[in-house]
Every structure is written in C-alpha cells, then in structure tokens.
C-alpha cells in the first residue's frame, strides 16, 4: 500500500510538472500582448518595453522558466501583473468560496444520483425506471450555463418580482459569519451543478447495480434469508459503487469547469470567476497559478479515489 501511494504521488508530481511546462510554453512562449494591454491603448513602444522589462518578460525564456520553477518549489506562485499581489494569496482568498460550492454540490449530486440509480436498478423496466432515465438524460443534455440561467430566472428573478427574497442572486457570505446566509447564497449554485452532474451518477449507479444484482453472492445473500433492504444497500451497493467512485475522481476536472460557469452566473467571488477575469486580462501568473491549483486538486482527487477503491472493494487490494 505504501509503495503504491509513493508511486501514485510521484506520478502526480510528474503530471503537475508536465502541466507547468505546457502552460508555461503556452502562455509565455506563445505571442501575447499583456505588456501593451497593461500600458494602455495610447502607450508608446518605449512604455510597452518598460512595462515588459518591469514584468521580467524581456528576459530569456529559459531564465523565466527556471525562475518560475524555482519560486514554485518554494511555494511562491508569482505575482499578479496588475496589482502585484502574490498569486498564492489571491487564490487562497477565493478557495473557501469554490470549496463550499464544490463540496455542497458534490454532496447533493452523489445523494441524488446514487439514490435515483438504486431506485431505477431495483425496479428495472418499470415506469419509475423510465422516468429516472429520461430525467437524468434531460439534465445531462443541458449545458450548465443554461440550467444556471433558468434557475436564476425562476428562483431569483421571478421570486423577487413576487416579493420573495429567499435566494439572493449574487455574492457570498462566509460560513463562519453566518451559516444560514452561507447556505442561502449557495443553494441555487449547488443545485445547478448538482442537477447537471447527478444524471451521470444515476445512469452509472443503475448500470453497475444491475450487473451486481445478477451476481452469485447476491443470490447467496438472498438465499440465506437476508432482508431485501440489507441485500441491496449493504451487499450490492457497496461493490456497485466502484465505477461511481472512479467517475467521481474524473469529475473533479469537469466540476472545476462547471464552477467557472456557475460562479459567473451567480456572482460568486470564487476561483472560477477569478480565472475568467485573469484570462481576459492575460494576467499570466494568476492564470497559471489557477490552472496548477485546479490540476493539483484533480491529481489529489484521483489518488484519494484509488485509496477509496481498496476500502470499498476488497478484491482490488489483492492486486
């Protein structure tokens, strides 16, 4: 197990290193006009050159790269081109928002997806199975920005017109200052992300539950007189969850994509909003920093998935 973890961690570090390389080449080596963007429209070529010099963009690329890597190894992600604040603290400020959003919606979609999947799998080819399948595919086919806009319209705009202000349309309240305000601000974004994603889990759980329910050990469990509830939830669901867990690890990448959209629709000051903003401003250190943090999330999530595998399905531990 230890050797496995070490190998996975090493691989994760390689992934992150490759990613820094790719991102660096893409943003620093490819032609960009961030200096003239900062210098303003009327700037003379001298001013642009000065800005370039100030940002260190006129140095040889290899120097820039080694410099960046050296700082990175010391936990320094660089400084924003625009307000010179450290990228690390810029990201750190916004992590709680995105983390709250991700955690809440992940909880919701797992709960909705898995229960819908179990419901469908225990009653295959019945109307309730059909309804679950079609509903799941309906939400799955909907882009998150569209669902976000619809939810925003119905539960913010229409309710506000009707004089009901349950769900605020933008902003964020820290959990520590008001748990209720925190949930109030996040509930619409949570549901937007969760509904789009839950569909995949409902399908996945249904498929793997159907497979597992046909296996011999389920028949054994039934034959020895266990109640059906126990067979379904304890024996079958446990091993049926393996593909669900894999998908959960993969979805961290998709989740961060969804976060970008949802944060922009609901005005949440999180990493996604910052990412779009810094991309449009070509604030390269912030862009790279955000991509790296996001990628690190994914790598860590995948390692956790591999560990959870072993816990859920004892058969995996043998290999």
């Amino acid at each position: 197990m230890v050797a496995f973890l070490v190998r996975r961690l090493a691989l994760g570090l390689v992934v992150l290193w490759v990613m820094t390389g790719v991102v660096f080449v893409m943003f620093f080596v490819a032609p960009h006009n961030v200096a003239s963007l900062i210098a303003g429209r009327q700037a003379t070529p001298e001013t642009v050159a000065l800005v370039k010099h100030r940002l260190g963009l006129d140095r040889p690329l290899l120097t820039q790269y080694l410099d960046y890597m050296w700082n990175l190894l010391h936990g320094n992600l660089g400084y924003s081109f625009y307000n010179s604040s450290p990228v690390r603290s810029l990201i750190w400020q916004r992590v709680p928002v995105t983390f709250s959003l991700a955690l809440g919606s992940a909880f919701l979609w797992l709960a909705m997806g898995i229960s819908a999947g179990v419901l469908a799998a225990t009653r295959p080819r019945t109307p309730s199975d059909r309804v679950v399948t079609v509903t799941a595919l309906f939400f799955y086919s909907m882009p998150s920005f569209l669902l976000g806009v619809i939810i925003f319209y119905l539960f913010f705009y229409r309710l506000h017109l009707a004089g009901i202000g349950w769900f605020p349309g933008n902003g964020y309240v820290a959990f520590t200052s008001s748990p209720l305000g925190w949930a109030q601000h996040l509930i619409l974004p949570w549901f937007t992300l969760a509904l789009v994603t839950a569909a995949v889990y409902a399908r996945l759980t249904r498929g793997s539950m159907l497979d597992v329910l046909g296996e011999d050990y389920i028949r054994t469990a039934r034959a020895k007189g266990l109640p059906e509830r126990r067979v379904v939830y304890k024996h079958a669901l446990r091993s049926a969850l393996t593909p669900v867990v894999t998908q959960f690890g993969i979805d961290f990448g998709t989740l961060l994509g969804g976060v970008i959209i949802v944060e922009n629709i609901f005005g949440l000051p999180g990493l996604g909003q910052q990412a779009v903003q810094s991309v449009l401003q070509q604030d390269l250190p912030v862009v790279i920093g955000t991509i790296l943090v996001a990628a690190a999330f994914i790598v860590v999530a995948n390692i956790i998935v591999d560990i959870v595998y072993g816990i859920l399905d004892p058969r995996v531990r043998v290999h």
Binding site: L11, V15, L137, M142, P143, D211, T246, I261
Partner: protein, 316 residues
C-alpha cells in the same frame, strides 16, 4: 510448381473469410433489430435527421422565409422603444436586440453547432482509437508513455485551459474544434486501450499470428472490428458533449465570434433581455436542448442495443 502456392492460399483463405463474415454480422443484425424496436431511438434518430436537413438547407430556408441570418429588419425588426419584437407571422421566433430574425439565426446556428460537434468528435474518436489501439497492442514502454499522456490530459482542468488558450490565440471555430478534440481523445483512448489489452490475449489473435499476420494487420483487421461497438456508442455520446462545450465557450464570449450565430452566443446575447424578451432566450435554448437530448437518448439506446448487459463497456 510456380502455380501451386496461390491455389493453396486461395483454398485456405476462403473458408476463414466466410466464417468471419457470418460471425461478424450476427451481433450487428441483432443490435439493429433491438434498436429498431426502440421507439425512443427511432424518434431521436428522425429528430437528428431533421436537424441535419435544416442545417444543410439553411440557405434554402432563408430564401423561403425571406430573412438573412445577419440582416436586420429595418422596418419591423424592433419595437418603437428599440426592444426585440415578439413572435409574429413575419418573424415566427421573434427578433433579437438588433432586429434580426431569430428563426433563421437558430437555423444557421445549427450548422456551426453540428459542424463543431461532429468534426471535433470524429477527430477525437480517430486519434483516441488509433492511440489506444497502439498503446494497448504494443504494450511495454510505449504503452506506459501513452497511457500516462492520456492521464495527464484527463487531469487538465479542460474548460479553464480551453478559455485560457482561446484568449491567447483568439476565438475561431477551428480553435474551438481543436480544443474539444484535444481534450476528448484521451477518454476514447483509455477505453480502446483497455479493450485492446483484453482482446489481444484471445486465442484467435494467436491464431492470426500463427497464420503469419503482421502486427498492423492484426491490429486493424482482427482487433479493431471488436472495438467498433464501444467507439460508435462513444461517438454518439461525444457529439452532444462537444456541442455543449462549443456553446459554453461561445456563451463566455470565447467561441465563435458574432455575428456568426451559434446557439451559445445567441444565448449569451439574449441574457441581457430575458426580462423583456422570453423568445430571445427560449428558441436558441430549446434548439440546443432538443439536439443534445436527441443525441444522448439515441446514444443511450445504441448502447443498450449493442450491449444488452448494460454499461459493461464503460466501466473503466
């Protein structure tokens, strides 16, 4: 003497080919019969055909309704206050904020969305299938390298990366297609690789090798036909995903540049008007949703038809 070898070869080759033909047709015909009985699949297929026809015939439809996708209706396009006009006989889906006919814009947008979806998915499928096949078949260092490359690509926060790339290179349809294909091929590659690894241990591969078949021939003639089913299913599921991705990029202003209509950028434009012009939001949204839903439902049915045991192929 010189004539003897060919006759022997022909004699031996024919029965092998015949049996393979019969065996290969069996499951396909069964799948086709299952699919034909699935009413949802048939309806979705017809809807997709209709959308494709509409997209292909867009200029004809434009002539028929008498509006151009980027032409503003100078006389009756906007209300006296300068707001979009609701659905009417001359503009069945209403007009947008510039007085353009929404119906014909939705029709033209279908071209971009389908093009992006189909081209990007096909590219991803081809690259993914070839790389996965090579990785799985050759094994060893090549396999480790390719498999790790796919892992790296799958660990990319792709939407973030996509918008970053587009902001550097500048938005265009080609870039959008490239980004979608680049981030989609790895998951196809993974599936194909997994299948190839299990297939290449089968006896009939050994048989092919002992008959003197080369690696390339085994890969494409003996292994690949077994991968067509999962790849086909994946293609029908990838197309709607690509359409959604294009719409998302366009929605963020980083996809296809206006005035070229796409469902995504029409929706982005319409959001400033949702309080006064529901039709501006509704029709592009409905077109997008109907298209992706039809593809997803069809993909789902194709999967069920090809593999009656459910989602076995998609577990890895």
């Amino acid at each position: 003497m010189t004539q003897a070898p060919p006759t022997v070869e022909a004699f031996e080759a024919r029965p092998v080919e015949d049996t393979r033909l019969i065996e290969a047709k069996g499951p396909w015909r069964l799948a086709w019969e299952r699919l034909r009985r699935d009413r949802v699949a048939i309806i979705c297929f017809l809807v997709i055909v209709l959308i494709v026809l509409v997209a292909v015939c867009a200029p004809l439809i434009a002539d028929l309704v008498g509006h151009k996708p980027n032409a503003t209706d100078q006389l009756g396009g906007l209300t006296p206050e300068g707001l979009p006009k609701g659905p009417s006989w001359s503009h069945p889906f209403g007009t947008d904020s510039l007085g353009r006919d929404i119906f014909i814009r939705v029709v033209y947008a279908a071209r971009i969305s389908l093009l992006a979806g189909v081209v990007a998915s096909t590219l991803a499928i081809i690259v993914g299938a070839v790389v996965g096949l090579f990785a799985g078949y050759i094994g060893g260092m090549t396999d480790s390298f390719l498999a790790r490359t796919m892992d790296v690509i799958l660990s990319f926060p792709f939407l973030l990366f996509g918008i970053a790339l587009v902001s550097i290179v500048g938005p265009s349809l080609g870039i959008v297609i490239g980004v979608i294909a680049f981030f989609s091929w790895a998951s196809v590659g993974r599936i194909v690789r997994g299948q190839t690894i299990s297939i290449k241990e089968k006896e009939y591969i050994e048989a092919a090798r002992s008959l003197g078949a080369g690696d390339v021939r085994i890969m494409f003639v003996d292994v690949f036909p077994n991968l067509i089913a999962p790849v086909l299913v994946y293609l029908t599921l990838l197309i709607p995903a690509a359409i959604v991705f294009e719409a998302t990029l366009s929605f963020l202003g980083l996809g296809v540049i206006p005035p070229t209509p796409t469902w995504g950028n029409m929706l982005a434009e319409s959001l400033g008007f949702y309080q006064v012009a529901w039709w501006y939001v509704l029709f592009p949204a409905a077109a997008l949703l109907i298209t992706t839903l039809a593809f997803n439902l069809l993909g789902d049915s194709v999967r069920d038809a090809l593999d009656p045991r459910g989602e076995r192929l998609f577990r890895q």
